[in-house]
Symmetry: C2
Amino acid sequence: MRIEVLCTGNELLDGSVLDTNAAYLADKTFALGVPVTRKETLPDELPALVGALRTMCERADFVVVSGGLGPTTDDLTLEAAALAAGVELETDPSIVEHLKALFARRGFTYTPNNERQARVPRGGQAILNPFGTAPMVALRIGRADCFLLPGVPREFRGLFDQEVLPRLEAKLAAEPRRVHRAARTLKVFGIGESLLGSAVAELPAKHPHVYFGYRAHAPETHLKLLAEGSIAEEASARLAAAEVDVRPILGDRLFGFDKEELPAIAVAALKATGGTVAMAESCTGGLCASLITSVPGASEVFVSSAVVYQEKAKTQLLGVPTELVAREGAVSAPVTRALAEAARERAGSTFGVAITGWAGPTGGTEADPVGTIYVCLTDGRTAVERRRVYRFDRERVRLFAAYLALDLLRLNARGIQK
Amino acid sequence: MRIEVLCTGNELLDGSVLDTNAAYLADKTFALGVPVTRKETLPDELPALVGALRTMCERADFVVVSGGLGPTTDDLTLEAAALAAGVELETDPSIVEHLKALFARRGFTYTPNNERQARVPRGGQAILNPFGTAPMVALRIGRADCFLLPGVPREFRGLFDQEVLPRLEAKLAAEPRRVHRAARTLKVFGIGESLLGSAVAELPAKHPHVYFGYRAHAPETHLKLLAEGSIAEEASARLAAAEVDVRPILGDRLFGFDKEELPAIAVAALKATGGTVAMAESCTGGLCASLITSVPGASEVFVSSAVVYQEKAKTQLLGVPTELVAREGAVSAPVTRALAEAARERAGSTFGVAITGWAGPTGGTEADPVGTIYVCLTDGRTAVERRRVYRFDRERVRLFAAYLALDLLRLNARGIQK
């Protein structure tokens, strides 16, 4: 099964916009065991689009086009598909009616150029778009099942999941000598890609039908397992067997699977125990709080964070004694612990977490160079502390520091583990 | 001048990695007035790479390949280029020596597979890589000047700027009927792409040699101006004339140019006046502080932010009276103002800024539905307030709210403008 993707739009070729649709699609098809075999990105120019579509639809079984379905004269995907298929474009009156009703509901003016979005290459099937305006189109071109999707990421993703993925699954299921696949991504924090690779180095030979893929998604590291079998159960069993061997090696560095994210997992761990947390952040400057509060419903478990960036703020907001800061230094284990305790006490929360450190590019001491991070988690009786030295740039040091705190919270949400 | 880009690597096609190299390159060449005309992304498979390179080098004047220069058998770009050019691959002993010395300096073991990185297609020029290990290669294939660059973004960017861009500029300068270009991106906050387009709708006709491009980079909107002329001075003059007409329309919504970012501009505005700021954030949950503190040197102007997420935290950290919160609601103009004033007083800063709102997906009231944001900036005597209703998802509402606060800070850093 060959899958190709055509991304259209001048904005993808002038450095304005990163294409995320193809990566979204690739991630989904990879999980079915079908990596994308080729991607092309073209400007809004009809001859190039027609030529590329024709070639792709001769070469591939499944072609997805992103973008170019809007109402302006720059939107050329429908024309290109009709020319590549050698058919006429026809206006579908039922779609015109649908668009007019949609505009009326939203209180927008329906202008004639919107009729461009109601055209369908003859023989194609228009599918209404519940995530936006322009319908998507499914049609056969050459030997390929071809899908034309809007380029707006939200619309692309919604329609891809809802309409394209089931058709791809059905096509895979109908393959005469079908290989069945099962995939899972294991996500860890605190171990790099190459160390992870060496840690599980013996396993690929033991599991010949499982692909082991390592990826750095800083600050996370991902291990992708993709198993093949002649029936679905065989693929799942092989995946499960590999995972059984992998998990003891990952240990508690494994925080989640597939699309799970550490902030949401930390929030869920607290919700499960009824715990709450208050924070104090210095070098991360609110990043850790921002990650937690990006999770809908975080307000159930997250009380507050005092972003005590300047030294005096540690006293102003949390009452940490100036003598302690002067004696130990603002970046130190004792000050970090005092901040965690003060944050917890003010908030009356189950846990207090504090982060201090030197994010760089300047600062640091001989003992604690740029990249040094202190994290402390306390429940009022016990405290766990971490010190790390990250040799990255400012942005990454901040991100790793925030993740270190979130990970500590995840690991200790059921009670502090010394 | 046609520029094409070939990105190689399985990781670009299984959803693991977003390709940022092509966008980096496109942004740079666009500024020279030469948009990328085509981009292809291929897995590490030799026949496909050779075929694509041949086609590209027949079609384009300038071809850049990203990736596939490493030491493993998956790294096929040198083989592909040699086959496409119809020449042999030769090992360059001076590069072997260079690599051995490099490994010794870093304390790494030099293994024989590293010799793969010392091969050069006959007639090509290897250029040492000060940003990493694998050298880049420049060679002629078909009618194109072809450049093979490592895929690691830091190495790609460094070598592209240092080695490829000057060669492209020289090639452009040597064009017999050369068109000279000058480009600038104007960045605004608080006006959408289509409104911006209508606001300046009269201008493109008045400036026929200037391209007007509109892009939504939520929460920013960008207007790209690209002027052409027969000499460099003519292009610059046309760009300046268009900008003179555009700026009164943008007014003070214009916050920066090209690569400038709003958080850095807000920090610079405060530095220029010696002002400092303390914040209180509710719905943004630390995002605004995180954006400010992502700017190196922010500690000069940014004292603290109290992330008062739960209602009680507003009292615990900043002493806002519970009666006020109970009477007015946590999301309201009076509470937002009280938070800004308390943040400023505790910190003894020039300004206090507060943000409250309903980020969603749940919450809101009839008067203040989900997406409603209050921002207040005070200097202790005067306060400016904003209320906005953003009909976006949680992530975007938070980002727009944080930008609204940063923009207010930028506009009033020299003293509050009523």
